[in-house]
């Protein structure tokens, strides 16, 4: 990973009122790289993604995207630069059709004059044939897995340079999780950088190149995933269940 990073986060802090939820977080994502952030519930993973994306104000620190510092930029601006978030709650347009949801994914490019959303939608349908079958159906009536596919597909419509994924495995059956993760690792080949936040540490560490462990607002560990997956602390806290027994 010698190229300049797509995303560089330096000393990022976020607070809700007086309560700090993220404390001096640092991380980097390069083009074509999958970086994962794992950690328990309430550790501040979603907060971090929202602050990078501009959905939440940061209290200090710096977020650079494509080598430029984006200080206090709003979500809309970051989307325009090529950063897309697939949020934990999916945030679909439930009363609109699958096709309209996808179309709106291309809104930024359309506004700039691009009219190739038809082709992009074709490519998204190639990746998620299920969505093509359901194209006229209302997004609110889809199953959990289909919703996640639509959320990822909608983000791909913007032709992102960096994709932020917040818990893509949330509430999905194992087979569907497998499918989604297979697609994520394929996306990597198209040169998209991916920042993957997951609770499902085992799956995340398998497809990612580099990983971070976030605990109570702080980056506790980091390293290439092969090394991280062998770290006893990671194994004990996130990969195993059998060893943790009666300890509190």
């Amino acid at each position: 990973m010698t190229s300049t990073p797509l995303l560089e986060v330096k000393d990022l802090c976020v607070a809700y009122g007086k309560v700090e939820a993220l404390h001096h977080a640092n991380l980097k994502v390069a083009p074509g790289q999958i970086v994962t952030v794992i950690g328990p519930n309430g550790a501040g993973k979603t907060t971090m993604l929202c602050a990078i994306m501009g959905l939440l104000p940061k209290s200090s620190g710096e977020v650079s995207f494509l080598g430029r510092s984006e200080d206090g930029a709003a979500v809309e601006h970051m989307v325009g630069l090529g950063m897309n978030l697939v949020p934990e709650k999916r945030e679909l347009f439930g009363e609109m059709s699958v096709e309209d949801n996808l179309l709106l994914g291309a809104f930024v490019n359309y506004r700039r004059g691009a009219r190739d959303h038809g082709e992009t939608m074709g490519r998204v349908f190639d990746i998620f044939p299920r969505l093509k079958e359901r194209r006229a159906q209302q997004a609110g009536t889809l199953s959990g897995g289909e919703r996640q596919m639509l959320a990822v597909g909608r983000a791909l419509m913007a032709k992102p340079k960096l994709l932020l994924l917040d818990e893509p495995s949330l509430g999905l059956a194992p087979l569907v999780v497998k499918e989604i993760f297979r697609i994520i690792s394929e996306l990597k080949r198209t040169g998209v950088g991916i920042l993957l936040v997951e609770q499902n540490a085992r799956a995340a560490l398998q497809i990612a190149d580099y990983g971070y462990v976030l605990e109570t607002g702080e980056m506790a560990l980091e390293g290439p995933t092969k090394i991280l997956a062998g770290d006893p602390r990671v194994i004990e806290s996130y990969l195993g269940l059998g060893t943790c027994g009666v300890r509190v």
């Binding site: 949020p87 945030e91 347009f93 994914g105 930024v108």
Partner: protein
């Protein structure tokens, strides 16, 4: 009350109902997209009608100065923000729309002598003058508080209404105006005569509603507005800016308001404060639709129009009382059909 009168009153009711329907659609649009309960909608009705009347009387409408003043304010605020963010590419655009456009309209009015123009051109000029005030009002009053609660936005809305009514009095004086009819033609339907203006009102309302339907169903910008109404966070994540959606919905609402004013000015005398009551009747209709449903709001508007027409015959002094008391059974019905206390975010 014989058949003749019944039909005549019905005609009145449907004509007014069509106007209320347009206004209620704009109110639902603005509320769902921005969460603003757009009380000043009525002022756009009055501004539209009275601006047209000013042109016809050979006067320069005061709304021109409002456009210029608001333009300067918006330009100053946006320039400051753009410079602070180092976004120089935005400057030209800001100057063009907020200073250049009002300047162009001013030149057109002073050199063009609109009192001699054909009616259609005067109407277009009035719209060109009043409609941009919509997004400017959004920029100045609502955008800085866009994340506030519905309640705070409502109080701001009422304050804006108050300021705009005050300005209306300043611009147009306390006397009312009535503009000439769009057409002198009349249609004989059995025993009653339907005036040309009534046909204009009904025809244009239907056309506008159809156009809005197309806009929301077919265009990406219309879909973007709907998306913002359904899920603001989701829309922002698609790069649909809340500011853009807000300005666009205010633009549409201002256009609908001003055009409605122009449509009814030949039927009723419009005073600087007439718009408020007209707008509120649109509200009663919008509330019938739960501030969410376009078709129910439109149907509610017809009901309001008819109720008003018939009560003006039976108890003209209590016309307004009856129309606004209609809200009580409507709220009762809504309250009985809503099963839980809604949790406000």
């Amino acid at each position: 009350m014989d058949l003749q009168i019944t039909l005549l009153l019905g005609q009145d009711g449907i004509t007014n109902g069509a106007i209320y329907a347009l206004l209620s659609l704009a109110l639902v649009l603005v509320f769902t997209v921005t969460r603003v309960i757009f009380i000043p909608q009525g002022e756009f009705v009055a501004y539209g009608a009275l601006t047209l009347a000013s042109f016809q009387a050979g006067k320069t409408p005061g709304t021109l100065w409002l456009l210029a003043g608001a333009g300067i304010l918006v330009a100053l605020i946006d320039l400051k923000i753009a410079l602070a963010a180092g976004a120089r590419q935005r400057i030209a655009r800001i100057l063009l729309w907020n200073l250049g456009y009002p300047a162009a309209i001013t030149v057109l009015i002073f050199l063009g002598k609109p009192e001699g123009w054909p009616l259609a051109a005067q109407v277009l000029l009035s719209l060109a003058l009043v409609v941009p005030l919509g997004p400017m009002v959004y920029r100045l009053a609502f955008q800085p508080a866009a994340e506030a609660s519905v309640l705070v936005l409502l109080i701001i809305s009422v304050a804006v209404h108050l300021a705009l009514v005050g300005l209306g009095l300043l611009f147009f004086g306390a006397e009312g105006s009535r503009t000439p009819s769009f057409s002198d033609a009349a249609l004989q339907l059995g025993s009653i005569t339907v005036s040309g203006q009534t046909l204009w009102v009904l025809g244009s309302s239907l056309l506008l509603i159809a156009a809005l339907y197309q806009f929301f169903g077919r265009t990406i910008y219309g879909k973007a507005l709907r998306a913002t109404a359904i899920n603001r966070t989701g829309a922002r994540l698609m790069g649909i800016s809340t500011v853009m959606a807000g300005k666009l919905s205010f633009l549409l609402a201002a256009a609908i308001g001003a055009f409605s004013g122009i449509l009814i000015a030949p039927i009723t005398t419009i005073y600087y404060d007439t718009g408020f009551l007209i707008g509120l009747k649109g509200f009663v209709a919008a509330i019938i639709g739960g501030l969410a449903s376009y078709p129910v709001a439109a149907a509610g508007a017809l009901l309001v129009g008819l109720l008003e027409a018939y009560s003006s015959f039976w108890a003209s002094a209590f016309k307004e009382v009856i129309v606004f008391t209609l809200i009580i059974p409507v709220l009762l019905w809504r309250s009985l059909t809503t099963h839980h206390v809604e949790e406000e975010e």
